[in-house]
């Protein structure tokens, strides 16, 4: 029994550590250059958003200076940040502390 409990505790710790490590946010920051229509198009293309969602996030970037456009595992978050940067949007990776 003790051995089993210890094993469970280790697994729990590893799982929560992994969960923390895996929770990342892709954040897009505002810039004064990119056209609104361009940002909407990039969100649709890179993140697969529909028109309404893309416009909502674009307006959030425009009005609040930033928008969290994706949350999830680090590897996918990095891929999204890279793609957004290819389109010259200012995109950063942040640990998702809420999770």
């Amino acid at each position: 029994m003790p051995e089993s409990r210890s094993h469970t505790r280790t697994e729990t710790r590893q799982a929560s550590q992994l969960q923390l490590e895996d929770a990342w946010r892709v954040v897009v920051l505002n810039d004064p250059v990119n056209l609104m229509s361009y940002v909407v198009m990039v969100f649709k293309k890179v993140l697969g958003f529909d028109e309404t969602k893309a416009r909502r996030h674009m307006l959030e970037v425009h009005e609040q200076g930033r928008s969290v456009v994706w949350t999830g595992v680090r590897e996918t978050a990095e891929a999204h940040v890279f793609s957004l940067q290819q389109w010259h949007l200012t995109a950063v990776l942040e640990p998702d502390e809420a999770r």
């Binding site: 250059v33 293309k45 890279f82 389109w87 010259h88």
Partner: protein, 153 residues
């Protein structure tokens, strides 16, 4: 294949090409939008930036190729599914660089609204701002006409 041809005014656009070429040269080794990559492993960061730069240079070549023989003989440029995406991105790269290098004297608000007294600008800034507006127009044209069929998701 969907193709959009646009007839441009040669006397207006040709002088702007010098600005685009000059900035494109400058962008060969610099990212148009420097990114905060401090969260990445240093070795990975180098590869990351290298790949972004290579893509940026490919895009800029596509933009410059737009202004070839057909443009100088008839003033026509054509967008299709092969060049639309790289050109839209390249326009952004040059616009970002124009802001950094030539339009620092203009406020971000003025750049966003376009509310600028052209007569009050010196020659270099006026040309840079015209180039900035021209590239935005090219982007709008491509997004409007090719978005759903070519660029859209």
């Amino acid at each position: 294949m969907k193709r959009v041809e646009v007839k441009l005014s040669l006397p207006v656009v040709a002088p702007l090409l010098d600005v685009i070429r000059e900035l494109s040269c400058d962008l060969e080794k610099n990212l148009a939008a420097p990114q905060a990559l401090h969260d990445l492993d240093p070795e990975f960061r180098g590869a990351w930036i290298g790949e972004l730069l290579a893509g940026q240079n490919d895009d800029l070549r596509a933009l410059l190729a737009l202004f070839g023989g057909e443009f100088f003989s008839e003033g026509i440029v054509a967008f299709d599914e092969t060049n639309a995406e790289p050109i839209v991105r390249a326009c952004t790269a040059v616009r970002l660089h124009l802001r950094e290098r030539r339009l620092k004297s203009l406020s971000d608000e003025s750049l966003e609204t376009g509310d600028i007294d052209m007569d009050g600008l010196d020659e270099i800034t006026r040309k840079a701002f015209m180039c900035y507006l021209f590239l935005a127009t090219v982007q709008e044209l491509i997004i409007q006409h090719l978005d759903s069929s070519i660029i859209g998701s």
